[in-house]
């Protein structure tokens, strides 16, 4: 069965890079939401991703806010990896409640290595 990843990213270039990079992984399907609202709508409609890749600086609701919402959501067991270009440390991001974080700029292979850990 294909493993589902939800990518929440407003930057179309970054989204494209992640999508192309993930073609290196077999049996992975990726769904792209351009902002937090779109992501919430998808989840409400019943999307059940195993992993969420979350950008932090998003138009409208921020990634941090979305992360809080996810943590309060019943039955939500998706792991969250934050991807951000913000001026913030990984330790601070972990305190916000994500499972892992990757600061931009990163290499696509670094992301793949991290993703593999959560898709067993």
């Amino acid at each position: 069965m294909k493993k589902l990843i939800l990518l929440v990213e407003d930057n179309p270039e970054h989204a494209e890079i992640v999508q192309i990079a993930l073609t290196k992984l077999a049996d992975v399907e990726i769904k792209w939401a351009k902002d937090a609202k779109e992501a919430l709508d998808l989840l409400k409609e019943g999307l059940k991703p195993q992993l969420i890749l979350l950008d932090y600086r998003l138009p409208g609701m921020s990634g941090k806010e979305l992360l809080e919402r996810l943590r309060e959501m019943e039955g939500m067991d998706a792991k969250v990896i934050v991807l951000t270009a913000e001026y913030i440390s990984k330790a601070e991001l972990m305190e916000d409640g994500c499972n892992n974080a990757l600061l931009k700029p990163f290499l696509p292979n670094e992301l793949i290595a991290k993703i593999k850990k959560y898709l067993r």
């Binding site: 930057n11 270039e13 970054h14 890079i17 192309i20 990079a21 073609t23 290196k24 600086r57 270009a85 913000e86 001026y87 600061l103 931009k104 700029p105 990163f106 290499l107 696509p108 292979n109």
Partner: protein, 311 residues
Amino acid sequence: MDIGIFREVIQKMEIPCLILEGNVVRFANSSAEDTLKRKLLGECIEEEILQSRAPFLEWRSFEVDRYRVYLGFDVSEVYRLKGELEKRKEFFATATHEIRSATNSILGYLALYVDGEIKLAHKEELAEKAYSVALKLSALVNDLLDYVRIEEGLRELKLEPLKVNTLLHAIVEDLKGYAFRKNVELNVSSVAEHLRIIGDKKAFCRVMRNVLDNAIKFTSMKEKGEKRVTVSFAEDEKGMSIRVEDTGIGIEPEKLSHLFKVFSSYSPEGTGLGLVISKKLVELMQGKISIHSAGPDQGTTVELWFRRAEK
């Protein structure tokens, strides 16, 4: 304590001061507001009251003999600097975010491009995309440095009489190819041969290039209808105005004021600093710049005004 001498010193130094003996006001100078005096008469003194009466005064009190002395220190400069620091922090945060974002795109595209495992029909497109982001990053870094230099007062302008006619023609000539590729008609009405304005050559060219570039870009973004940018001139007693009018995508009037703020770019291609830098440069040349639009799809007009050089 001899209140007489103290009073004299305080008056000379213009420090807001209040001296109480018990609950009786023994001294209050004009800087300590009247309202404050009245409020304090017969009442006990609370720090909050003092603070709320004069937000930019920080009151310190101490006891001398049987008196309680209140001195107000002006901290408005501290508040101003705090605000300034906040603004800088925000600027720094956004600037680093933009640089990191662009670097992420360049690195990502190129890493995928050289990755043998990635099979794509048009793989060279990845390198082309990296190249175009690199160009954007380079423009961003240049704009950032320019902006900071202007803010720090390090950009020194050489104000001299400039021949508008010659300079503008060179800029328009340069941009003709760009306008043509973007399918935008670029019209420039003739300007008096002799007319000279006061300005810095580099700064003037940068501003005009930025304004025209924007006009062409935002006109080309319109889906249908006429695509035209018109440059016209008007002289008045003291100066000359340049009007750049386009038939482009326009903007909601309530959003116009945001355009002169840092990082408020209206297009993904922009650095978010172009118009901000232009406005600063125009002001350094003692000119004016304003932007108008009746609304989305109604076009935009930028009006510039420069001082005329004496003949």
